[in-house]
């Protein structure tokens, strides 16, 4: 196969450059190691820029407009564990290669790839879609007293906490012309099916009907002051909100609030880095000339490549170590 590739793609005919595999004596480094650390330094600045935006927007947010407890903590914890395990297996893969144990290298590398794939699958097929099916409406401050039953601001004020301006849950009915009409229809059908109730859809055309989350069903309950570890069932209480009382309303998408904007951008960019890492690992795992095919002629060079890719992967893990508490817990 490498014959074919070289024949049709003889593009990569580099000049022979020293210190690719053997370290340069005075620096003690082979070039790619320096290169990857420089790249990681730039990535620190990239995610640093994003985190500084997070800090800036969070401290600048008016109380009540920076939510917490909206993300699935058990799932996030599990994903964190999966990345940590993959960090261990990738360094085992490198060690196996240094010890010239090809079979072990392939095994650990495969586990690393699978862990990465599971991480992405959980995020893209469970976490994010769940967000896009969850709705929130910010109530105008001047109308908030009408919805006190769902906001509980008297209790919050009495206990010195930040006010609550948002009613969240599953959207069952949207105003006419809303882009969420389709989702509302689906949810209303599901609701009717589950509970046998048919009061989800109101005759008025400019109403939001939301099947509220537990925290909005009992907003003055002390138990609801802080988020819970296990996500709770949506309640069966319905909130009917007039569109003219709504400041802004959307599903939990990037546009919803600066919180979700930062969450999706940072986890999205992080996810792209996970994907990039998986692709590189696949290249090093499959019997390609630059991957496992290199083991035959120059196993040390392959070990270096795995070390470099592993450094990138550890960095990706490191970013997640900060992302997880910042968004899921704090």
């Amino acid at each position: 196969m490498s014959n074919l590739i070289s024949k049709y793609f003889p593009l990569f005919t580099d000049t022979e450059v020293p210190h690719t595999v053997q370290a340069r004596p005075d620096t003690g480094l082979y070039s790619a190691k320096l290169g990857i650390w420089l790249f990681l330094a730039s990535e620190v600045m990239l995610f640093g820029g994003l985190f500084s935006a997070y800090i800036f927007l969070r401290i600048g947010a008016e109380p009540g407009y920076w939510p917490s407890g909206l993300l699935n903590v058990p799932v996030g914890t599990m994903n964190t564990a999966i990345l940590i395990i993959s960090s261990v297996t990738v360094v085992f893969a490198w060690a196996a290669l240094k010890m010239r144990q090809l079979g072990k290298y392939r095994l650990y590398m495969l586990i690393t790839i699978l862990c990465g794939a599971i991480f992405l699958t959980v995020k893209l097929s469970y976490e994010w879609p769940a967000k896009f099916n969850h709705f929130g409406a910010f109530i105008r401050k001047e109308s908030a007293s009408k919805y006190e039953a769902f906001l509980g601001n008297k209790h919050l004020e009495a206990t010195g906490q930040s006010p609550r301006w948002e009613i969240t849950g599953h959207l069952l009915d949207a105003p006419k012309g809303s882009s969420y009409a389709h989702q509302a229809e689906r949810n209303a059908e599901h609701f009717a099916h589950e509970t046998g109730r048919h009061d989800a859809v109101t005759p008025a055309e400019d109403d939001y009907v939301i099947q509220v989350d537990a925290v909005n069903a009992n907003p003055s309950d002390k138990d609801n002051d802080r988020p819970h570890f296990w996500p709770r069932e949506t309640s069966s209480t319905l909130a009917v909100i007039s569109a003219k009382d709504v400041e802004s309303a959307s599903v939990f998408a990037p546009r919803h609030s600066t919180y979700f904007a930062t969450y999706f951008l940072i986890t999205g960019l992080h996810g792209l880095h996970v994907l990039g890492g998986i692709i590189v690992f696949l290249y090093l795992w499959l019997p390609l000339p630059g991957g496992t095919g290199l083991y035959k002629t120059n196993p040390e060079h392959l070990a270096n490549r795995v070390e470099i890719a592993g450094l990138f992967w550890h960095f990706v893990d490191l970013v997640w170590i900060f992302v997880f508490p910042i968004f899921y817990l704090l």
């Binding site: 690719t20 600045m45 903590v73 120059n298 550890h314 900060f322």
Partner: protein, 127 residues
């Protein structure tokens, strides 16, 4: 010449059998493997600690943030020092990382300073 191209920038291959032998420092690498396992376990435990501590009331929301960041920094330090081999890494790499840290800190701190020190008496709209 129709010889297939492998990577030309690698070491010359003189004797194809010796490069696949178990190297002299095998025992050293194997001992590192135990360390990796221990650190991996520690990270998993610390993850649980992070989650647990987030439900403890440390007085104010800000204190919870500080505690959470301390634990995260410890975890990050372990990953960097042990998994990324920074412990015992060459000084060139350290120099770049220190510079990066200084400038990242500058970005965070000076931006925060500018935000928290506005011209007095002006209106700063938030949400």
């Amino acid at each position: 010449m129709s010889a297939p191209h492998t990577d030309h920038s690698s070491q010359p291959v003189l004797d194809s059998s010796s490069i696949h032998d178990v190297p002299a420092n095998a025992a050293e690498i194997a001992s590192h493997a135990v360390e990796y396992l221990k650190v991996g376990a520690a990270l998993l435990v610390l993850t649980g600690v992070t989650v647990g501590l987030s439900y403890v009331d440390f007085g104010s929301r800000n204190m919870n943030i500080v505690v959470g960041m301390i634990v995260a920094t410890i975890k990050a330090g372990l990953v960097a020092a042990i998994f990324m081999h920074l412990k015992g890494e060459k000084i060139t790499i350290w120099r770049f990382l220190v510079m990066t840290g200084i400038f990242a800190a500058g970005l965070f701190f000076l931006t925060f300073l500018a935000h928290s020190d506005p011209v007095s008496g002006t209106f700063h709209a938030t949400h």
